[in-house]
Amino acid sequence: MTSPIEDVAASQAHADEQAEETRKPTRFAGLQRWWNGLARPQQWLVLGLVAVLLYALPLLNPPLLTTPGYDFPIVLCDMARFALVALGLNVVVGQAGLLDLGYIGFFAVGSYVAALWTSTDSTMVKIPYLATLPLAMIVTGFVGVVLGLPTLRLRGDYLAIVTLGFGEIIRLLATIIPALKGNTGFQNIGSPPGAWNGKPVFTITNGTPWFWLFLTVIIVVTLLLGNLERSRVGRAWIAIREDEDAAEVMGVPTFKFKLWAFTIGAAIGGLSGALFAGQIGFVNNQKFDVATSMLFIAAVVMGGAGNKFGAMIGGAIVAYLPYRFGFIADKKYLIFGVVLVMLMIFRPQGLFGARNHLLAYGRSIKRQAARLRRDARGDAALKEGA
């Protein structure tokens, strides 16, 4: 029952709200201010401390976080896996604004690459497990390009359904291609080398070394993605997300960068799939369904559009909650459905909506801009005094 006038009033009110939000202190504002106030070396120090803490988590097994009934390091591995997936999907959905509902497909391809080249059940030549990680990224990246070339020219609405279809196709191919062994799957997937006291370090029962491997990969990927963010690539992605047509008129080759986003996202998905295959030691066609794609989307959306730390936290939470609170485990899809609906209505920008910083040397302008503001205020005072 709204007229255009009411509509306009509503969108103006919404814009005012948004402007208000950026001004009034949020619950993280104190944290943000403190963080932005630190000098670069200090920021690195804090991040280093956080990293050390994370590495220590499986050994500490803190009582507040621990998961009764489930092996804590294995839970941490699941959280890390979701965090890495969310990191990759964030590039596609959060930064470039491409709604990819079939991300599980890339994950699956990565898992099968690891399985095919290291499992004793497979007929392909065996290569060391760690070599399958870059191989998975290359293969999935290639699949991403092949899928992206025809579909990224489509309008956004079509893209969502086509990617959904792709996820389904991969799952079905896993079932019907005989070489992929459908339900039987592949066992004895390889693992990184290394022995301690005569026993191999990386087994499927001991989650801690796998968690450390995941964490290292996450840190490297985060650093690299941060480089991309603060470059013309990251700026192009956000410009495409905000207003694709205006971006193209401003000289951004939108198709090329959309394809890169898609490919990079795919490669990260494949990487996490390969790590998952190694950690769990077994791959079959039962693990790659549409519902999991939706969980991935929920993780990214919860974290906030484009914010990689938010996405990782979202992923970790999505993986963690069903373990910690056993009673929700069987209802987990229901709960995440409700969470998604609530978020989209009340806070579509996500829980941790922090702004991307897109300039590599952006901090330097703060001084310049402050100087200009002071000058402008000085001039105004002069004019008043005169």
Binding site: A15, Q18, A19, T22, L224, N227, L228, R230, S231, R232, V233, R235, A236, I238, A239, E242, D243, D245, A246, A247, E248, V249, M250, G251, V252, P253, T254, W260, R355, N356, L358, L359, A360, Y361, G362, S364, I365, K366, R367, Q368, A369, R371, L372, R373, D375, A376, D379, A380
Partner: protein, 333 residues
């Protein structure tokens, strides 16, 4: 090179800064400065809102430095028989005109005349049904939008289309990126070229913001900027792509008279700095005051193409805007 109050290491002096300043403007019917040094457009040059002196650092960096194959005064862009049809509707009908290097050309006409359609057809947003657009003699037919921008057309939008979630400076740097050559891999590993281009981006971006007068809000989100700032940010972003032709689509919409004066001064400074400007506007005072020549469209057709004085007295133009006089029942006109 003048010292800069930012973090760029002093030993790096990319060639782009070694510019000699040259006046490229045509000698046209413009009023000059009066004795006290105040330009005839009325803004004292020491006001913070005035566009910067053409000798200032900001203007030096912004100065048009690209090699343009055409001499000042010759045709930079030629539009020939440009036609755009949507289904049964002819929005643009065999429009033909030239844009000369160094001039400010106005494109006016009543609402619906096809002015923005012309812009869109030139910048590749619409595919023309027929006709050609040539830049420095080379046709732009069939090129993708971003290629046309890189070839030398830049534009602002009638409805502001900034990237809301980016700051003002980031918006401008997106325009600068059109000229950058860092590859994705280079950005991934922070190649020397990437580092160099990022550093000069900050400098150039701030210079552009200073040039249009909004540098004090460089770090604010574009969607939070005041309206006047947003309009000027669009101009800065367009300038960042180093265009040969700058197309402004109703840049003064929503401005009060004082702001329009400032805008006129800014447009003149932009031209004096070496750019060619194509301007769509509804405000006659602004158009007459700033344009060297004017093209008038009505119902998709060109009805006049002349200097402002002649346009003002052209009966066809008057009829298009005001209608033809009708006789009342009692014979009074």
């Amino acid at each position: 090179m003048a010292s800069h109050d930012n973090d760029i290491p002093g030993d790096e002096a990319p060639e782009q800064h070694e510019r000699t300043y040259s006046t490229g403007h045509l000698s046209l019917d413009k009023s000059g400065e009066d004795a006290s040094g105040t330009p005839a457009d009325g803004i004292p040059t020491d006001s913070p809102e005035a566009p910067p002196d053409l000798d200032s650092e900001a203007a030096q960096i912004v100065h048009q430095d690209r090699d343009i194959a055409v001499a000042v005064g010759d045709n930079l862009v030629e539009i020939r028989d440009l036609t755009v049809q949507f289904g049964g509707l002819t929005a643009l009908d065999a429009v033909t005109f030239d844009i000369r290097r160094g001039e400010i050309l106005g494109l006016i006409g009543p609402n619906g005349a096809g002015k923005t359609t012309c812009f869109n057809a030139m910048t590749g947003v619409y595919k023309p049904t027929s006709g050609t657009v040539t830049l420095e003699g080379k046709p732009l037919r069939g090129m993708k939008k971003h290629a046309i921008t890189r070839a030398g057309f830049a534009r602002t939008f009638q409805n502001i289309r900034l990237f809301g979630e980016m700051t003002a400076l980031e918006n401008v740097v997106v325009g600068l990126d059109a000229r950058h050559q860092t590859s994705v891999l280079g950005a991934l590993v922070r190649s020397p070229r990437h580092i160099r281009e990022e550093k000069t981006s900050i400098e150039h971006g701030m210079a552009l913001l200073e040039f249009v007068g909004i540098a004090d809000k460089a770090g604010e989100l574009a969607r939070n900027l005041p309206y006047g700032y947003q309009r000027r940010l669009e101009i800065a972003r367009a300038l960042a792509t180093e265009p040969k032709l700058l197309c402004l689509d109703e840049p003064a919409a929503g401005f009060n008279p004082a702001e329009k004066e400032e805008l006129m001064a800014l447009i003149r400074t932009i031209r004096d700095d070496g750019y060619t400007v194509l301007l769509i506007e509804h405000d006659m005072k602004l158009v007459m005051g700033v344009c060297d020549r004017i093209v008038v469209l009505e119902f998709g057709k060109k009805i006049a193409d002349d200097v402002p004085k002649a346009i003002r007295e052209n009966p066809a133009v008057i009829a298009a805007y005001l209608g033809v006089e009708e006789e009342d029942a009692d014979g009074a006109a």
